[in-house]
């Protein structure tokens, strides 16, 4: 399960970027060229061409509007804050960032740690799972070797964090969350990891949910 392969999704994304950059607005000639070159993507290229045309009534070219003062809006402020948090999380995950040496001593960041109750539930719903299953992901109770690439991609998408970060989290040692309440006299220790299939089957998921997760 190597992470450095060029996936079909990547290829498609690059094809669509190229298509979008080729002309200000697509025409028959451009669409024909791309459909011939990438017949497997003919439908999505056609959809994109149509979207781009219908979108072109007022293109977002900077400076065409009357210049006015730019400010840090609350939106920019929130996005900037998230950007800094994610940058910090990636850098402290110990994974190489843009040519830097990995920080092996740093603990692996837990991308689930920043989720509040609502975000946790939303994630469960986005992954068509339940809170029990998401808690297993959060606490690294599932053996990453038994997860599919598709599943990891979906988790990264839902969490809106880089795939590397998700992979590093799953690959790290199981942990019991700080601040988690427990009834036993001693603090519970992390158990042996379940296989992905086991985790799916023992989390109280419906048959439909199980099928979806196993099919990723």
């Amino acid at each position: 399960m190597t992470m450095n392969q060029t996936t079909p999704t990547t290829l498609l994304r690059d094809v669509l970027y190229e298509f979008s950059l080729a002309k200000a607005m697509p025409d028959a000639e451009l669409l024909d060229e791309y459909v011939r070159r990438y017949p497997e993507h003919a439908t999505i290229l056609t959809d994109f061409a149509i979207e781009m045309v219908l979108d072109s009534s007022k293109d977002e070219i900077e400076g065409t509007a009357k210049p006015s003062e730019l400010t840090v809006t609350p939106t920019v402020s929130r996005v900037m804050s998230r950007f800094q948090n994610q940058l910090f999380a990636v850098r402290s995950s110990g994974l190489p960032v843009a040519g830097r040496a990995p920080n092996l001593a740093a603990p692996v960041a837990n991308p689930f740690a920043m989720l509040d109750r609502k975000a946790f539930r939303d994630l469960a719903s986005g992954l068509r799972a339940n809170n029990v299953f998401i808690a297993k992901l959060r606490d690294r109770e599932i053996d990453p070797e038994t997860m599919t690439d598709g599943f990891r991609h979906r988790v990264a998408e839902e969490l809106k964090v880089p795939l590397d970060l998700v992979a590093a989290h799953f690959g790290a040692r199981s942990e019991v969350r700080a601040g988690q309440y427990y009834k036993a006299e001693g603090k519970p220790t992390a158990a042996v990891k379940q296989s992905f299939q086991e985790a799916v089957l023992t989390s109280g998921l419906t048959e439909q949910q199980q099928q979806y997760l196993m099919g990723l």
Partner: protein, 259 residues
Amino acid sequence: MAKPLTKKDRNGMLYARPMAIEAAIDVANQQNIDCLRRRAWLSDIDDSDFLPMECLVHLIRDALRRGDEPTVNALMPAFLARSERMLTAKIPDGGRVNAAEIRENILSDFSLLFIQDGRDDHSNVLDFFECRFARAFKFFRIDYLRREGARSARLQQLPAEDDGRASLDENPLTEPREGWQVAATQEQVIFQGELLEAINNLPCDERRAVVLCGVLGLKEESEDPTVTTAATLCGVTGRTIRNRLARAAKRLSQYKEIK
């Protein structure tokens, strides 16, 4: 001289920044952080100190690669503010129920590209933004909306065939799209905008036929199976395309009358 881009096009050629962007980067590389911060906030394209978005993308990427966080923190807010303004032009408040949320999500996802830059699948995707920011950003926005399913109804699967009995006579929508690429006058720009809006409101199958034939200029069908036509792209017969065009023409003429 800025580091060359590494993304290759479909012919295997490396992408290259436009000369003007290369020149702007060379100038920016000689300037200190305060000067760059001030320039990043300029929004008037006619200002001689205006910093193109392509240049800002480069400066932020480069700072991230070097671990130069002060520069990232100095430039990123202005970069996001300018990106947000571009988004607001396309997704204005009131245009959609959750316009502000959509803009914020797009901006958030976009900022993630900088964090993912140079890593696995996302390696050098920002090269596209250093070449033509506006087009790449437009793709990013459309792709986001598509993925989020905001337009899923519009792009839903079409019925395979259509044997409607609409008139197949003279059809103005089969005429090539003169004036679509270059709108000469302000009036034409307004008319195009209104017409696009009307086309946008057509049922999905008719909209596809109109854009493919009437705007992009594809043939309805061809006897030559190797030719790309509206029929081949939609997976239907030429007759079906003509039926859809005829129905669309009727709707659009009603729209024109109402206007």
